[in-house]
């Protein structure tokens, strides 16, 4: 099997989000491999260790720093990495991103058996790109997977958590799977593997290399645009209603009606 694992470089989970005007202040931010993508990489590496997969290609679209996220994927055990980076990509929405990723898959031979994604990226938090890639390629998909069994050349059985139980999907390969917390416990990249990652190939493509016109991506090629960022309002103190039951109920109803206007 040939597996593609999609990797995004995102701000560290500890990042204190600050604004500069109405844009994100990116100075001093430390970037990491999206934690959900780590589940995807780990799952692919386990399939390779179980001799179910021959090659794992880690793929990212992003600025040059996304190389670090890809190096991490290589240190966990991916075989090689591909980064699409181009100034014209700035401002691409999820659909524009999905189209670029589809082009990368074509460029890399198009013969992937399994496309693994994190279920969401912890920065944009749109959850959309994997499903858009599946739709563009007309592939079956299972999202938010917590258990995965793959029979190379045939099918994948994916378990998703739904309210009150589990949903089990059987998918014909090739298929798109998005990985959730609980699927596996990603390993720490060992020092020897960090050294090996340095020697593994990392190919960089520009839009030209993929035959994409700049008008198809970035702000121009996107149907949605981020207009501005706002920090959530600071959390206020709670309100405690005290007294006899009748008084409490009356006061609470008044509060819900008049102050927060939910009833």
């Amino acid at each position: 099997m040939k597996i593609a694992v999609f990797c995004k470089s995102v701000p560290d989970t500890e990042t204190k989000v600050r604004l500069k005007g109405d844009r994100l202040d990116t100075s001093g931010i430390k970037y990491i491999l999206n934690p959900y993508d780590e589940f995807a990489v780990e799952e692919a590496v386990r399939m390779k260790e179980a001799k179910k997969a021959e090659e794992i290609v880690a793929i990212s679209m992003g600025p040059a720093r996304a190389q670090e996220a890809l190096r991490n994927a290589l240190a966990i055990g991916a075989d090689r990495a591909v980064l699409v980076t181009d100034d014209a990509l700035d401002g691409s929405d999820t659909l524009a991103t999905a189209k670029v990723l589809v082009k990368v898959l074509e460029k890399e031979g198009g013969d992937f058996d399994l496309l693994l994604f994190g279920q969401r990226a912890i920065d944009g938090d749109t959850w959309q790109v994997p499903s858009q890639v599946a739709a563009l390629l007309d592939l079956p998909q299972a999202t938010c997977t917590v258990a995965l069994e793959v029979e190379p050349g045939s099918k994948a059985v994916a378990t998703r958590l739904v309210e009150g139980g589990e949903e089990i999907h059987e998918l014909t390969l090739p298929a798109v799977i998005t990985c959730s917390k609980g699927l596996n416990e990603p390993r720490y990249p060992s020092l020897p593997n960090i050294m090996k990652a340095k020697k593994k190939p990392l190919t960089t493509y520009s839009l030209g290399d993929l035959g994409i016109d700049a008008s198809e991506v970035g702000k121009n090629g996107s149907r949605t645009e981020v207009l501005s960022y706002e920090l959530p309002p600071a959390r206020g103190g709670g309100k405690k209603v005290e007294g006899e039951p009748e008084e409490v109920v009356a006061e609470l109803v008044k509060f819900l009606k008049e102050e927060i206007k939910v009833i």
């Binding site: 990491i32 670090e68 190096r71 991490n72 240190a75 720490y188 990249p189 060992s190 020092l191 020897p192 960090i194 050294m195 990652a197 340095k198």
Partner: protein, 383 residues
Amino acid sequence: MRFELTEEQNMVRDMVRRLVEEEIKPKAAEIDKRGEIFPEIYQKLAELGLFGVYIPEEYGGAGMDVVSYAIVVEELSRGCASTGILVSAHTSLVVDPIYKHGTEEQKKKFLVPLASGEKVGAHAMTEPGAGTDVASISTTAKKEGDKYILNGTKHFITNGKEAGIYLVFAKTDKEARHKGISAFIVEKGTPGFSIGKLEHKLGIRGSSTAELIFENCEVPAENLLGKEGQGFYIAMECYDGGRVGVAAQAIGIAQAAFEAALAFAQERAQFGQPIANFQAIQFKLADMATAIEAARLLNLKAAWLEQEGKLFYHHSAMSKLMASDVAMRVTREAIQIHGGYGFIEEYPVERHYRDAKITEIYEGTSEAQRLTIARNLLKGIGI
């Protein structure tokens, strides 16, 4: 001048920090209390290649560099100072000298299991009557045929309980002072070698400190490291590198105390506001962060000089002197910021304070560092 870590060094720092946050720091108080590092931690360190950071892969190491090693020890010590010294004493004082002075056979037999973390190493020089004055050790090694017979007692031996391989220093010439010392590789279980009492200590309680007893202990002659009489030189050389490790440990301890104090100062309210609003506390935090940064940069320089094969012992002495002093100051101030909470076990800073003290003592006392630095200066080195 390039003032940043390489991509790999950053990856090592991130990985070890994560390991520490998830698996070591949450257990550090219990390690301190129980007086031992848990087996699953040894296993993790070994799996990740942390027992032979800068040893080539062909000898079981990770093939990285001394700067990465300093980063590893600092980050481990930030979570647990005992785990930091486990790796530091093992690497600098056992793995390093066998790598530098071992024969190919010795490297295959001893370095590979040590650098891969299959076995822990312990360095046995100190005796009840010989601390800083190394040349006065009284353990003897007498050659008989193809063996050496070791007799004597070592004490205060770090990793003494857990080690599988010991680097033991003994006099092959009783009359000579330092020129009579030789180094031997001794395996656990060798007849005539036993472990005596374990010390109860002020700090780094998770790190074992053992007495080693040699009674007509027969060591194969091929276990002599280097030549007869070379032991003192081998030891002094590895202490130079060991100072980078102990300085890194001290910096890690200081960093942990600083982080605890910074968080506490923002949470703790007095007189209706967080104490971090008070200038008295702000000045302390500023001084602590400044001192840590300076110590860290000096140590990274010492590590870099060592890696580049340049003269580094002057800088490693300065670094160890400074870092241990910074660790003492910062941990003391961290307690002061915590007030009464700093004095009780529920908060980590009392442990950091206890752990910091040893860094002024082992791997050469602060006084011995000053002597080394001054003698270098008077010889025209480091000016």
